[in-house]
Each structure stands twice: as C-alpha cells, then as structure tokens.
C-alpha cells in the first residue's frame, strides 16, 4: 500500500510531535501541581493538595482578585473602544477599508515587548504625556503615571486592543445588513436594532475577542515589571516568581492550573455562543 504511505507518515508525524511537545508538557503541569517540594529538590514525588490550599491564603487570594479585576477592566475597556472601531472598519468600503485593516494588522503582529516599551516612553515622568500636559498648562508639575496600577491597565489595553478588534471585525463583517433594513422598515429604533439584532449576532465576536484579551491580560508578566504598579499585580508575575525566584515549581504549576481553568471556562462559554466552524474567526 504505497499510496497510503504519505497519509500515515504525515498523521503520525504531526500526532507524535504534538503529543510529545504539547500534550505531555501540559499534563506535566497538572501532575506537578499535586506534588511537594523542599529546599534541595525542585519536585518531590509525594502527593499533596497543599499547593491548591495555599491559594486560599489571603496573600494569594488578593493577587488573584487584583489580577481578575485588572483583566475584567481591560476586557471591558478593549470592548468599549474596540467595538465601535471594528464596526466602522467593517462598514467602510474599498481601498479605505483595506488601509484601515492593514493599520490594524500591523500592531497585531508587532512585538508586544517593543509596544510596551513604546507606551512606557509616553507614560514616563519626563515622557510625552506629562510634557504635553505641562506645556498646555493643564498641570503644573509632572504627575506620577508609571508605577501605578492605572499605568499597567493602560499598557495592557494598549497591547491587547487589536486582539479585541480583529475577531469583532470578522464577525461584524458577516452581519447580514438586510436584517437591519427589515428592522428599520418595521419601525425599530436605533437602540432597539442594536439590542435586538446587532448585539446577539455579534456575540460570537465579542466572546472570541474576550478569549484573546482576558487571559493574556493576566499573564503578560513583563508589563508590570516594565511599567510598574504593585509588584505582583498579575497572576503571571506570581507564576514567574514561583518558578524562577522562589523555586516553588509545584506552587507555580498549581497557579497555572488555575489560569488554565479560567481558560477552559471561557472556551466553554465561547463554544456555546459560536457553534460549529466559527473557531477560525479567532485569527
């Protein structure tokens, strides 16, 4: 059966690769999160639930709470800024639309680190924003922008906004405008049209955007490091320090599992909204 050789070769190759370098590593996190550790061993083969129990310790709980709050704020801000923008892009025509799209693709694929550095130069004490406000006479001495939680929020929104706009755009673009005409002919007002037709139909896009924004907002650990804010504002920073500073790998693994649970919850909600093939809209 020489004909079938290619088929089995390619299926086996890709399956083996993904099992070895994706499935097994991800399962390792789950296993490690139930193990113990001590000062001389990164991991001890001893089953324990203590890594998860720790999570209800007030310090960790506070980090989880702050992290969730920041993620929710970031997602809402991205949605509020991004939805109208995606709508306008989807409703524009011809070469203007292509230009709008290209201008949105570029930040989407540009290094997030460099973009964080860029927003840092704006927010710095001697940065552009302070200088502009001073020059305009709105403020009289530079205000402290970096090393605040607001700065982290601004930087995270700046980083993730394109990730909200894209899924929204591809969803809104497919919206059947005849439905809107029909509603208008039947006498529905603008608000009613939005609430009864546009919003439900674009819900998959909203969920897809939320999926791409909510989790990264918690895990982009270098943003708080560079822009400032509370030292361990994000779950991402907690995982990073558990792994590389505290050498508490099981603890870090447990934190990642909590992150993964959020991810599974979001995927579950998302698949309820977008049945079938719309997964690909994510990109």
């Amino acid at each position: 059966m020489k004909i079938m050789k290619f088929k089995y070769f390619s299926i086996n190759l890709i399956s083996l690769w993904l099992i070895a370098l994706a499935t097994i590593p991800l399962l390792l996190i789950l296993i490690t999160s139930f193990l113990a550790h001590d000062d001389s061993h990164l991991i001890l083969w001893h089953f324990t639930l203590s890594n998860y129990v720790y999570f209800f310790h007030p310090i960790y709980f506070k980090i989880l709470w702050l992290s969730l709050k920041l993620s929710v704020n970031c997602t809402i801000l991205c949605l509020l800024i991004g939805y109208p923008a995606a709508f306008i892009i989807a409703r524009s025509h011809g070469s203007l639309k292509n230009l709008f799209l290209l201008l949105m693709i570029i930040p989407f694929w540009t290094s997030s680190l460099i973009r964080t550095y860029a927003i840092l130069t704006i927010l710095k004490t001697k940065g552009l924003l302070n200088s502009a406000l001073l020059a305009l006479g709105i403020i009289h001495h530079p205000i402290q922008l970096i090393y605040t939680n607001t700065a982290v929020l601004v930087a995270v929104v700046y980083n993730l906004l394109p990730f909200m706009i894209f899924p929204l755009y591809s969803n809104i673009e497919k919206l059947d405008t005849r439905l809107l005409d029909a509603a208008r002919d039947l006498g529905a007002g603008k608000i009613k049209i939005f609430k009864a037709i546009i919003l439900p139909l674009t819900m998959p896009g909203i969920m897809a955007g939320t999926l791409l924004v909510f989790l990264p907002a918690m895990t982009l650990f270098y943003i708080p490091v560079l822009v400032g804010g509370a030292k361990s504002l994000l779950l991402g920073n907690l995982v990073e320090s558990q792994f590389l500073e505290m050498h508490n790998w099981p603890g870090g693994a447990a934190t990642s599992i909590v992150l993964t649970l959020f991810m599974l919850l979001l995927i579950f909600i998302y698949t309820r909204f977008a049945r079938g093939k719309q997964r690909q809209e994510l990109l």
Binding site: K2, I3, K5, F6, K7, S10, L13, I14, L18, L21, A22, P25, L26, L28, I29, T32, L42, I81, P84, A85, I88, I89, N98, F100, L101, L103, I105, P107, W109, T110, S111, S112, L113, I114, R115, Y117, I119, I122, L128, S131, Y158, L161, P162, L215, P216, M218, T219, Y222, L226, G236, V239, E240, G252, A253, M263, I267, R279, Q280, L282, L283
Partner: protein, 283 residues
C-alpha cells in the same frame, strides 16, 4: 407643488448632511484609535534620531545611535541567534503545520478531533502556561536549556498558526483538482506535491512569514526555555529595558519595527484576494 418639492429637497439635504456628519464622526473616532495605537511607536522612531537621548526636547538629527547599534558585536551575535531560530522554527513549523492542515482536512482517522482540539488550545493557551509546561518537560527529560529546547518550543508554537492559515485557504480550494489528480492515478504524495502545495502556496508563505515574526518576537515562552548559553534578541531587549533605558534601544526598536512592518505588508499582500491565483475562478 413648488413648496412641497422645496421641503422635500431641504429634508433630503438635511438628511445628507446628517449622514455626512456621521461619516466624519466615525472617521474621527477611528483616527483617535489609530493615534492611540501608533503615537508611541512613532515617538520611538523619532527619538531614535535625536542627539540628546534622555530629553524629550529635540536637539537635532543624528545617525549616531544607529552607528552604535551596528558596531555592537555582542548584539550582532544575539541577532544571528534570533534569525537562526526564527528561520529554522518558521520552516519546520510551516512544514508540520501544513501537514497538519492537509491531514486533518482530507483524512479520517482515530484521534482527529483530539488533534483539532489540541491545536485550538495551543492558540488560546497563555504563552506563560505553555512556557512553563515546556520547562517542566525539558527538565524532566534532562535536556539542558539552550538552542535545542528553544528551537523545539518555537517550532511547536508556530504549528497552530500555520495550521489555521493553511486550513482557511484549504476550505475555499476547488476539490475537483484533487479528484482529477486521483482519477489520473496520482498517489497521495504526488497530490500533495503537485496539486496542494502549488494551490496553497500563498497561504503557506503567509504562514511562514507569520511564524517567523512570532518566533522572532517571542518573549514569554523563550524566557522559560532558554538558558544563559543562548541569548536571543527579545530577551536581550527585555533586560536592556529593565536595566534602564539605554539610548540605542530606541534605534534597535525602530529597526525591528521597520523589519516587522516589511514582513506584515508582504504577508498581507499574499493574504488578500485568494480568488485570483488558486484556480477557484474556474468553479
């Protein structure tokens, strides 16, 4: 009669002005969003030419920082490292991602939906979680962190992106070409090489370009899976920014921004207009 026409005319004029106003408001809003996204980047590029690097005031034009940059031999090695990893990871990732797209599209086999789900999860999963998963895996098989671990990690995270790009092109492919090939006695490998690869070429190229960008810019996963022996550019930039802003960072980031810009514009050129080249027009 005259009056009625005048009123009608005035009415439609008013309506026209209202739509015009709305259009202007929309474009104004979109412009604000783009200013938010692009201003920081433009500021970096402008100040990479400023004689005084620490002040926001314009002290005059200079190529000095670029001169410093291009004569930094340590940095040159780091760039070589990043380019090597980027080229290799993009090439292998594209090969595996294309095979995955073709296999999952054409064949039925045990574990197909599992692979599909896994690829979806790899896109959604926070880089941080995947990074520590790989760290745990490489540590547990005693692979020392460096070039090889970095390469394996980068290939793996490129696969799902190529998969999505190629699959979406596959969906609009004219299936008669494949059937005709099979009727004429082509084996699976011949169909792959002579029919699918040429038809999918633009998508494969886009997948490669995007993979290269992803690999070249990745911070989070690389942070966990590389060792001190093999330094790459994003991590170098990260430590440069953390240690305090050196003047040539602006120049370095500007070079990288332009580099990414070229890749993105090329990729979006090939992404556009899938109908013209792949034979779909004959349907």
């Amino acid at each position: 009669m005259q009056r009625a026409t005048t009123i009608k005319l005035a009415f439609s004029l008013a309506k026209g002005t209202a739509t015009m106003m709305q259009k202007y408001l929309q474009n104004f809003y979109l412009t604000l969003v783009y200013i938010f996204l692009y201003l920081p980047i433009v500021v970096i590029i402008c100040f990479s030419f400023n004689i005084s690097s620490h002040s926001l005031l314009w002290h005059g034009f200079t190529w000095h920082w670029y001169h410093v940059l291009f004569h930094d031999s340590d940095l040159a090695w780091v760039v070589v490292h990043s380019l090597t990893i980027g080229l290799l990871a993009a090439s292998f990732g594209t090969l595996l991602g294309t095979l995955a797209a073709v296999s999952l599209f054409r064949y039925q086999f045990f574990g197909k939906s599992f692979l599909n789900g896994l690829l979806f999860i790899l896109i959604i999963i926070p880089d941080l979680v995947f990074g520590i998963a790989l760290l745990l895996f490489f540590t547990s098989i005693h692979l020392s962190l460096g070039f090889w671990t970095l390469l394996l990690a980068h290939i793996t995270f490129c696969i799902p992106f190529v998969f999505v790009t190629v699959s979406s092109r596959m969906g609009i492919l004219n299936k008669h070409f494949i059937e005709a090939g099979r009727d004429l006695g082509a084996s699976e490998i011949t169909i792959f090489k002579r029919i699918l690869i040429p038809l999918l070429a633009p998508a494969i190229l886009v997948g490669w370009l995007l993979s290269f960008t992803l690999s070249f810019d990745d911070v989070v996963i690389s942070y966990f899976v590389t060792g001190p022996s093999f330094e790459i550019l994003p991590l170098k930039i990260y430590s440069m920014i953390r240690l305090g802003v050196k003047p040539e960072i602006n120049a370095l980031c500007s070079v990288l921004l332009v580099f990414t810009l070229i890749i993105i514009v090329t990729a979006s050129h090939f992404m556009k207009n899938p109908k013209s080249k792949n034979g779909k027009q004959h349907v």
